[in-house]
Amino acid sequence: MRKSVFVGAFAASALVAGLAQAQSTLEQVKNRGELVCGSNTGQVGFGAPDANGVWQGFDVGFCRALAAAVLGDPMAVTFVPLTSQTRFSALASSEVDVLARNTTWTFTRDVDLSLTFVGTNYYDGQGFMVNRELGVSSALELDGATVCIQTGTTTELNLADYFRINGMDYEPVPVDTAAEAQQQYLAGACDVYTDDVSALASSRAAFAEPGDHVILPEVVSKEPLGPVVRQGDDNWADIVQWTLFALIAAEELGVTSANVEEMKTGSNNPEVGRLLGTTGGFGDMLGLDNDWAARAIAAVGNYGELFANTIGDQTPIGLARGLNAQWTQGGLLYAPPFR
């Protein structure tokens, strides 16, 4: 009896695996009627459930835009919280369709891990946060400090490099999640908490006394964060990539969630027409319908709106646009033309 159940389970899983293999990611998502998005385990502003259990945030907003583009419903997303340790395995094993979780684009991840980084939705850099009481004003004064750090991140490697280059010593306290790092940092088990500056700002906003903590001026690395998909399904990568570009281009072209409907007909800029699907038939080329980008923009707004609503300077996170301004405004955001 036992054995036959075992063999049966084998056969069933083989069948399921076989079926799953045959379908493209787009077909899987459409058949499921739901997008599965790998998200942070809880990073206020970027991806965390709110008081009602609804996921909110900058990365979450991107997944909602993607769901709106593909399925027509921004709420048709299941968020799978992933730690920095589990995220790539989850993506590689098809547990999630897309990973939108403050993931740094690096050579080895792109090439060796066989992932595809479709673009950058947030240009970040690594910084250090310390308690104001320590009286530290520069990261170069941190010799001998105890540093809390999330394992399995690029941050961990940058930290080792930064202290070695500057001939300083430190004591790493490795932790698994941002929440754990914050707890250790607040308990004083480490002097310094290091992470991407955006994540530090987001953590600080959630502290009881945000004013007691300073983020040191040094930014010690480049951290281009962006959505990631599996390598090998180029159509799906294109969809995710151009959904991101659509949000960025929308800001550049002045399309917002409020005016997207009137821009569809009212604009005489042909690029707006191609973006919103009134001309060009770009949606068909992606395997979607022509309204895809309009739906994405209507759901979460353009890049600027999404930024302002989740992490901008009017929110508790209070991040400035900085590098994440449009290229016309001196930033790095530059969507290829919709042509």
């Binding site: 054995k3 075992f6 063999v7 084998f10 083989a14 695996a17 293999q21 920095s84 340790q85 790539f88 395995s89 590689a92 080895t108 991840r109 060796d112 891990l113 066989s114 320590l134 941190l142 010799d143 001998g144 400090a145 105890t146 394992t151 399995g152 961990e156 490697l157 930290l159 080792a160 490099d161 202290f163 070695r164 430190y170 004591e171 790493p172 306290v173 490795p174 932790v175 698994d176 707890q183 250790q184 308990a187 004083g188 088990a189 480490c190 002097d191 599996r230 390598q231 090998g232």
Partner: protein, 401 residues
């Protein structure tokens, strides 16, 4: 008919089952190979020679972030072994004490021990590890509390500092360094090897002394006093070493952000060590109690009738017999403790699971290779422990002639 031949039938069924099992394994392996090809991934251990790039806080051997992933894995392996050995020792001490005391005729003592055993046995290890970690991090003073003319906290005997980053204890250093033995990747200090060798020598000398006393007692009926000779055997060689190598204690002192000098027992290590020891100790207590109860009351009564005191009865009559019952289940507890060290990542203890199986896998993406190595290593550690313990078991078990 062959169908009714029991031997034929059972062999056929076994071959059939084996065939199915092999088919299943082949299917799994084939699946892995084809899926890896599909993803464009290869199976290679080259990553072990690439630069690791991350730092490890607890380093029993020299290591920095420019060294290889293989070296980082070795550091993790040593951390696992250190934790396993210290954990097994402390768990045994706790377990034997608790097991004996639980049988105490003193109502309060036996009830207290019952409470210990039941609490620790019935709450998962991971929770205990997290509790110990949280207690250390949340309720101990920060190093800055030791600063100033009138500090809020002070060191115990000016030697031990208990902080929320761990406990700093004095470390033993030598003014004369004999150098280190170069053994490939590891280089143990000759000073410590010498001390270790002397201690082993002392143990053997002491054993010879006791054997001699027993022979004298058998021949003459009078047991010569040995306690002061034993003390001399252990102390004199160590005193000679202390004088010749110039042993001194390096006390921890507050410098910059943290204490410097001395040995730093990190929170992660203490949480793992205490959590695993107290948890496993509760199980060992039950095993010890069971072993003692398995010895018939008649043995105790006979020993009492011969005039042995309760302590000696336990030590000379009951425990040696009880060991035969205790050792086999004790082996599994040691194995459990060793395997539970892999929970280290929960509190950031950099054991093999956290270095090779955690950060290295994460940075290189070699899950399959890393997990494979991890499995092999844990298997090897466990088999070594059970082999050693089985040797011990066969030495103490009832010799039947």
């Amino acid at each position: 008919m062959l169908l009714y031949d029991q031997r034929y039938r059972s062999i056929t069924i076994q071959i059939f089952a084996l065939f199915l099992l092999m088919l299943g394994a082949a299917w799994l392996i084939d699946n892995v190979i084809s899926n890896m090809r599909l993803l464009g991934r290869s199976f290679s251990f080259n990553f072990l020679w690439q630069s690791a790039g991350y730092d490890i806080n607890q380093r029993p051997i020299a290591y920095d972030s420019t060294m290889s992933h293989g070296r980082a894995a070795l550091v993790g392996f040593l951390n696992t072994v250190i934790l396993a050995i210290l954990g097994c020792i402390f768990a045994t001490v706790l377990g034997v004490l608790a097991g004996v005391l639980r049988l105490s005729s003193n109502w309060i003592v036996s009830r207290l021990i019952t409470v210990y055993v039941e609490i620790f046995r019935n709450i998962p290890t991971l929770i205990w590890i997290l509790i110990f970690g949280a207690v250390m991090a949340e309720s101990m003073p920060a190093p800055s509390a030791f600063r100033g003319d009138d500090p809020a906290s002070s060191m115990i005997f000016d030697a031990i500092a208990i902080t929320n980053r761990g406990v700093y204890i004095p470390s033993i250093l030598f003014t004369t360094d004999l150098g280190a033995l170069q053994l490939g990747p590891v280089a143990p200090s000759l000073n410590w090897l010498l001390i270790f060798a002397i201690l082993i020598g002392s143990v053997f000398a002491n054993r010879a002394l006791i054997a001699h006393a027993t022979r004298t007692q058998n021949a003459t009926g009078i047991r010569p006093k040995t306690w002061w000779k034993s003390i001399l055997i252990f102390l004199v060689p160590l005193a000679v070493v202390k004088l010749s190598l110039g042993v001194y204690l390096d006390y921890p002192e507050l410098r910059g952000f943290n204490f410097a000098g001395g040995t730093h027992l990190r929170n992660s290590f203490l949480a793992m060590w205490l959590g695993l020891s107290f948890y496993t100790g509760a199980f060992i207590a039950e095993i010890v109690r069971g072993g003692i109860l398995a010895i018939t009351k008649g043995q105790t009564e006979a020993a009492f009738a011969l005039g042995l005191q309760p302590g000696k009865t336990m030590r000379l009559v009951i425990l040696p017999q009880a060991l035969r019952v205790i050792i086999p289940p004790l082996i599994s507890q040691y194995l459990n403790l060793t395997k539970n060290t892999s929970l280290g990542l929960a509190v950031g203890y950099m054991d093999l699971r956290s270095t090779l199986g955690g950060i290295t896998i994460n940075q290189t993406g070699r899950e399959l290779e890393g997990m494979f190595l991890l499995m092999l290593t844990y298997l090897a550690i466990s088999l070594t422990i059970s082999a050693l313990m089985n040797v011990y078991n066969s030495r103490i078990k009832l010799k039947e002639r």
